[in-house]
């Protein structure tokens, strides 16, 4: 009798687990399908892509041609050049931006200087203002300085530290006991020494999280390059893909899908390497990816 009962509970649990897994796998498939579709379509020959478009298994393979013609680029500029442009902008913007944010966050949370509350208020206000609003005057300024169509125009908007990163790092700094810096100060450590020798190892996870998201945002940014760039040799990857979409200049869907997938590879690689930081970072601060 007793055995029967535990047995039925166990089988009930099993059924429940099975139901859960069926639902979870179904949802996984829907979530990943667009990505799989992209990969599959990048392997299909141009004239079969839209015949059985939902199928994930190519009938006529043409992967090599798609990837080579896609990589050849557009308007005489190879795709590698677009990747290089994106990489330079992304790395420079991320390094400068996160470093600026770190310095500002340290000042806001650890040093009592005049008007610090006022400036922190300004940080919060910029957090609420959509960046697109500033783009017309920014464009006019850059035009006057003659830096449109240079990488500088794409790096500058990110380089001074985003309000969001400052905010996150301030939150993090506030959680670190002040005794830590006070002890170092007694030992004769300066403010900069405290930041880099004592606090940096503690805030490193937040710095990494911010860097990862900065990397994603800059790599995928489309709006600013669209406005600041008109010389195709300086295009970043999103702008290049946008050109590929124009049937008058690039009538090659296979190449478009192939390079679309290539543009996602750095993001996915980054995700695999830093997954732990990303998941923890979001759980902690709720950053929107």
């Amino acid at each position: 009798m007793n055995n029967k009962k535990t047995g039925s509970i166990r089988s009930k649990k099993k059924r429940e687990a099975a139901r859960f897994h069926i639902g979870a796998i179904l949802l996984s498939f829907i979530m990943v399908y667009p990505l799989l579709w992209l990969v599959a379509s990048s392997f299909k020959s141009n004239d079969t892509i839209f015949i059985d478009s939902y199928s994930l298994i190519p009938k006529v393979w043409d992967a090599v041609k798609n990837y080579t013609t896609g990589w050849e680029g557009i308007g005489g500029v190879p795709f590698g050049r677009f990747m290089w442009n994106s990489l330079v902008v992304t790395v420079a913007g991320t390094v400068c931006g996160v470093f600026s944010a770190l310095l500002a966050a340290y000042a806001f949370s650890r040093i009592e200087f005049a008007f610090s509350k006022f400036w922190f208020g300004c940080v919060i206000v910029t957090l609420m203002i959509p960046s697109q609003v500033m783009v017309v005057p920014q464009f006019i300024i850059m035009e006057k300085l003659g830096i449109t169509n240079t990488k500088l125009a794409l790096i500058l908007p990110w380089a001074f530290g985003s309000a969001f990163f400052i905010f996150l790092m301030v939150q993090f700094f506030r959680g670190i006991p002040r005794e830590l810096d006070e002890a170092a100060e007694i030992d004769g450590c300066g403010k900069f020494g405290i930041l880099f020798k004592i606090l940096f190892p503690v805030v490193r996870p937040t710095v990494v999280t911010c860097s990862i998201f900065s990397f994603y945002w800059i790599w995928q940014d489309f709006f600013q390059p669209l406005i600041f760039m008109s010389d195709i040799r300086e295009f970043t990857v999103p702008l290049a893909l946008n050109m590929y979409l124009d049937p008058n200049s690039f009538n090659n869907y296979g190449g478009l899908f192939a390079m679309s997938f290539v543009s996602l590879i750095p993001i996915i690689l980054f995700f695999i390497i830093f997954q732990k930081y990303i998941v923890e970072g979001i759980a902690m601060d709720g950053i929107k990816g």
């Binding site: 897994h21 500002a104 609420m128 609003v133 006019i140 380089a159 530290g161 759980a283 990816g289």
Partner: protein
């Protein structure tokens, strides 16, 4: 010789703040001033700005139908997308917040769209999935639903496809809900069970109230983010068909860089700032009524 501590703090503080201050002045303060000035002018980049008072604003509210269309599209986008995504994220978070094998794998798979979602490659895919002869059409045809046009080809449904793209990226909200769910003390659920509470009741009287800070935080961020929708409507539909997906930022962009009406575009930008500000303030204002902070309860 030695500076007073106060002065030293001021010097060090401002040295540390310099990069951000430079950015704030050059990227926000000066552009804001310029943009405010341009918003009262007629300016096409080539000739000098021509001061026209509040004409741009009057034109927007009285003679510009596209402005209202862009507002309507953006409001519909935000008001459907944000609740839908949050509800979906919460459901999946509750589903995944159990002890089963392979949970980590599912969580990762659900999160991937959030990471790649903003990229143009995904917009490219969406264009094909929901466009003419796309996957969506062939599947619904196989199910026997006849369609005269694709989802993206119909002005009434095109926005829906773009909203779907947003809901598909529910992963990061799901992760915030997951970590919030883990902080709800088990004792609350146990005492509810002892009291014979039904799951439905427990959900609405324990889970939801305990999650309200997370919901609030997500709402603020996602509403601000939602208003900024641009890439999707630019790449997937270019605002069409019949302006059915003309987002506010896309309209601003077109006014500035297709029609070269810089002054008008700046006026649009300021109205946009005002709308986002009103939404944010309203949300903060309602906060006391529905957001439950544990530290307040005594």
């Amino acid at each position: 010789m030695s500076l007073s501590k106060k002065r030293r703090n001021n010097i060090v503080g401002y040295i540390l703040l310099t990069p951000w201050l430079v950015g704030f002045v050059c990227m926000y303060l000066i552009p804001s001033g310029m943009s405010l000035f341009y918003s009262f002018t007629d300016y096409n980049l080539l000739s000098a700005p021509d001061f026209i008072g509040i004409d741009n604003y009057i034109r927007m509210f009285t003679r510009d139908e596209k402005f209202w269309q862009a507002l309507k599209v953006t409001f519909m986008y935000v008001l459907i997308l944000v609740p839908a995504r949050l509800a979906f994220a919460l459901c999946v978070a509750m589903m995944v917040n159990k002890k089963h094998k392979g949970i980590g794998v599912y969580r990762t798979l659900y999160y991937i769209p959030s990471i790649i979602g903003g990229s143009i490659a995904v917009s490219v895919v969406w264009r094909q999935l929901f466009g003419n002869g796309g996957v969506f059409m062939s599947i619904s045809e196989a199910l026997g639903i006849k369609q005269r046009s694709s989802l993206l080809g119909n002005p009434d449904t095109a926005l829906l496809a773009i909203i779907l793209l947003g809901v598909w990226q529910f992963g990061s909200s799901m992760l915030t809900f997951l970590s919030a769910l883990k902080t709800i003390p088990n004792s609350l659920y146990e005492s509810a069970m002892v009291d014979g509470s039904r799951p439905f009741y427990t959900f609405f009287h324990i889970t939801i109230p305990m999650l309200t800070p997370t919901i609030f935080f997500n709402l603020i961020l996602q509403i601000i983010n939602g208003f900024r929708v641009f890439t999707e409507s630019y790449v997937i539909t270019d605002g069409g068909p019949l302006d059915g997906t003309l987002s506010y930022v896309l309209y601003m962009y077109r006014k500035a860089f297709t029609h070269f009406e810089m002054g008008y575009s700046c006026a649009l930008a300021w109205v946009f700032v005002a709308i986002v500000a009103v939404f944010t303030v309203l949300l903060f204002w309602t906060q006391n009524r529905w957001v439950y902070y544990e530290s307040d309860a005594k």
